[in-house]
């Protein structure tokens, strides 16, 4: 007999409900529902374009820097201006710090506490999990993640003064001063974080960690370092079989990571994995579908052309406040694992070839990536020192009254896209598609499930009251629902009738 269960997931940012149909303890169908809407795009319409810089960071308190960066890039694209290279470098430093902070907090405070669930009590490694990850912020690594990531945020506050939500990026670069003192402060913050990370999370040097180019090499490291932060995660996760779960869509999407200072592409290239080929990322291939969302259904539409129209009925099975986003008419997957794979990282590529884009690898990437990013941070500081006489800002003289622009950066959870239309000097349309929007997407006009929904099909759920593996799979995506469900643009009555 098929039973429908609604699971309320916490330790995701924001609110998420997942509904599954379970028959014979196997998930047969699934629906992802974001339950909270705020209306940021409506708030932006009619305002001066410069207000983007104050408002869009507030879309998300976790990736505030990424939202600001995407917004400023959309404005620069609309105004057709190139930012000062040093401005790009400062922006990158702050975005990199945000990713490093996020990966520690999400891994040790939000994901790993799942391993402390009483259902795992008889697991031989259970006591180690509790010692390491017991919530709330009691386990060793849970406490360390919070204490240490605080210092990493010093990189951002050196320039921005505060975090989250500071407006130190503007079209043309950054508005804050860039001084030798600030760069020294950033370097000290990285030194301190890296030395903790190497000692406790990796149990080896960053060079040795970056030298693990293959899955076999990694397993050799794991055998020698089982009690490090990364080792505890990796060992327990594999013992649960997380590497066989939650693969989802094989079509992968990334705009790239960290814009180049010459504004010609990204430091780490992105792309679209389309079968065997990697094709360039092209935002013109993005479409929003509203067949199963509470909007009028005009069919797949590009964000610049989006039409605002409420639709209360007829009932066609709508269930989400979020639109279904598709790329090149495919269901795609985004995230740091995807970002690193498309950038050609050897370890991530080796694991992907061996086991596919599974939940275990997805979360492992958040233990691996900070080392990559800290290298990029040091390189960026070195460049800022070398170019210290160059400005960090190219001030605008005047701006057009009519324009449209697109901006994308890599948020901690994957590619973040902003689209802006300006008419008569005011914002006429603003669209934000977050990485979680892609991943948590409902069904599209063709009835295809979104990536998460698909990744749950076939999952064994022995106890629907405690769907632990479902939680592992969804949390392996580091979901951020606060960003994702900001998108509804109309007054719309939610309808919770059964479907």
């Amino acid at each position: 007999m098929r039973e429908r269960t609604t699971i309320d997931l916490n330790r995701v940012e924001g609110d998420l409900e997942v509904r599954v149909d379970v028959e014979d303890n196997v998930v047969r169908d699934s629906w992802c529902v974001g339950t909270m809407y705020r209306g940021y795009e409506q708030v932006l319409v009619g305002r001066a374009p410069s207000d983007v810089l104050v408002i869009v960071p507030r879309i998300c308190g976790i990736c505030s820097t990424a939202q600001l960066y995407a917004g400023v890039r959309a404005l620069e694209d609309a105004y057709d201006i190139q930012p000062a290279p040093n401005g790009v470098r400062v922006r990158n430093l702050c975005l990199m710090a945000e990713a490093v902070m996020n990966d520690a907090r999400q891994t040790f405070v939000m994901f790993c506490p799942d391993f402390c669930h009483a259902a795992y009590r008889s697991h031989p490694l259970y006591d180690k999990m509790v010692t390491a990850f017991e919530p709330p912020i009691k386990g060793y690594f849970a406490r360390q993640a919070v204490l240490r990531s605080k210092g990493m945020l010093g990189v951002i506050t050196a320039f921005a003064g505060q975090w989250p939500h500071a407006t130190y990026m503007a079209p043309g670069g950054v508005t804050c001063e860039v001084t030798a003192e600030k760069l020294a402060k950033c370097e000290a913050a990285i030194d301190e974080y890296q030395s903790w990370y190497e000692a406790e999370v990796l149990g080896c040097s960053s060079d040795q960690w970056m030298g693990l180019h293959t899955a076999e090499g990694f397993l050799g490291w794991l055998e020698e370092h089982p009690d490090t932060g990364a080792g505890l995660y990796a060992g327990f996760g594999r013992s649960l079989g997380l590497q066989q779960l939650g693969l989802g869509s094989r079509y992968l999407l990334s705009c790239g990571c960290y814009p180049r200072p010459d504004n010609n592409g990204f430091l780490m290239p992105g792309g679209h994995l389309n079968g065997e080929r990697v094709e360039p990322f092209d935002h013109h291939q993005v479409r929003e579908h509203t067949r199963y969302s509470w909007f009028a259904d005009y069919g797949p539409t590009h964000p610049w052309d989006s039409i605002t129209k409420a639709e209360h009925g007829p009932d066609r099975g709508q269930y989400s406040h979020a639109k279904a986003t598709r790329y090149a008419n495919q269901v795609v997957q985004l995230g740091p694992m995807v970002d690193l794979f498309l950038a050609g990282d050897p370890l991530i590529a080796s694991w992907m070839r061996a086991e596919g884009p599974n939940a275990w690898l997805r979360q492992l990437t958040r233990l691996y990536r900070p080392v990559v990013v800290m290298q990029l941070m040091r390189q960026t500081i070195a460049e800022l020192r070398a170019e210290s006489s160059e400005p960090a800002m190219v001030w605008l003289t005047d701006v057009p009254d009519d324009a449209q622009g697109f901006g994308a950066v890599n948020a901690a959870r994957g590619t973040l896209c902003h689209w802006i239309c300006i008419r008569d000097g005011k914002i006429s349309n603003y669209q934000v598609i977050t990485p979680t929007t892609w991943n948590a997407s409902p069904r599209d006009s063709e009835g295809r499930r979104g990536h998460w929904e698909e990744s749950l099909i076939g999952l064994t759920v022995p106890d629907p009251e405690n769907p632990l593996h479902l939680g592992h799979i969804v949390r392996s995506h580091d979901p951020c629902l606060v960003c994702t469900t900001h998108m509804i643009r109309t007054s719309q009555r939610r309808n919770f009738t059964p479907y």
């Binding site: 609110d15 705020r38 939000m110 709330p136 505060q162 009555r493 939610r494």
Partner: protein, 267 residues
């Protein structure tokens, strides 16, 4: 270079309930929020205090936080509303959606308006804190055209009222404590909670917007009480959005930004 945000106090307080052996409890609920206060209170460089201090030094028993707790919210809510669990501090983050059309269904919990859950929790809490400008006054979601008909806990459209109404008082007789800011910073949030836990907080220490006296503009200092944003990033926010958003005028001007930056370089 400006000093970092000053520490408003890292005193360790012993609360009356601690002396009696019953730890004060805290339940944190997120509404129409960006999680900014949750992230801020986990700790930011330059802040002397954070959530760990509350858990480890002040001995607060955390009943639930959306990002930190193992279990989902529903079982905890049942026990709190049934008075099986006492609730000392209710921390609310995010604006309260009352739309569409008064239903509150733009933000739901278990199929019901989050607004209704918050209302019930407020009625059983000793003290209620609105953490951040969204929970205090509606914040950016309440800016025109206010798509979700968002309100603060005890303010809406810049006037007393909001979800609870002007006359509402908590079980211990205080109105909602508005820790305004966007995001509110960790030291200020911790100080507000400690002020309440110290016992017998004086409502006269709340200003006419319900803010305790230690709520300051962004990046200000004890010796420099005005907003320090302009000096840090070269421009100021018009009408301090940490206070009472919404504003219908421009928030930021290029000329202002350029002027501040030039001044900075000249000094």
């Amino acid at each position: 270079m400006l000093d970092p945000v000053p520490t408003f106090g890292s005193q360790r307080t012993t609360t009356p309930s601690r002396k009696a052996g019953i730890p004060p409890t805290l339940l944190w609920i997120g509404c129409g929020s960006c999680s900014g206060e949750s992230m801020a209170i986990l700790g930011v460089d330059g802040q002397a205090t954070d959530f760990l201090d509350l858990l480890e030094h002040d001995g607060i028993r955390l009943l639930w936080h959306p990002s930190l707790s193992l279990e989902p919210l529903a079982p905890i809510v049942d026990r709190v509303l049934n008075r099986a669990l006492p609730l000392t501090l209710l921390c609310v983050e995010g604006s309260i959606a009352t739309g569409p059309d008064g239903t509150g269904l733009f933000d739901t919990f278990d199929g019901q308006p989050k607004r209704d859950l918050v209302y019930e929790l407020c009625s059983v809490a000793d003290y209620v804190l609105a953490l951040g400008t969204c929970a205090s006054y509606g914040g950016i979601p309440a800016a025109p055209p206010n798509p979700t008909a968002a309100v603060g806990l005890q303010y809406a459209d810049g006037q007393p009222g909001g979800l609870l109404g002007n006359d509402w008082r908590s079980r211990k007789g205080l109105p909602v404590v508005n820790v305004a800011g966007c995001a509110a910073d960790s030291d200020t949030m911790v100080l507000a909670m400690r002020w309440l836990l110290a016992g017998d907080p004086d409502p006269a220490q709340l200003d006419h917007f319900g803010r305790p006296t230690f709520v300051r503009p962004c990046l200000s200092g004890a010796d420099r009480p005005k907003c320090g944003t302009a000096q840090w990033v070269g421009h100021s926010c018009y009408g301090c959005i940490g206070q009472k958003f919404p504003l219908s005028r421009e928030l930021l001007k290029w000329t202002e930004a350029r002027k501040c930056a030039s001044e900075l370089l000249l000094t």
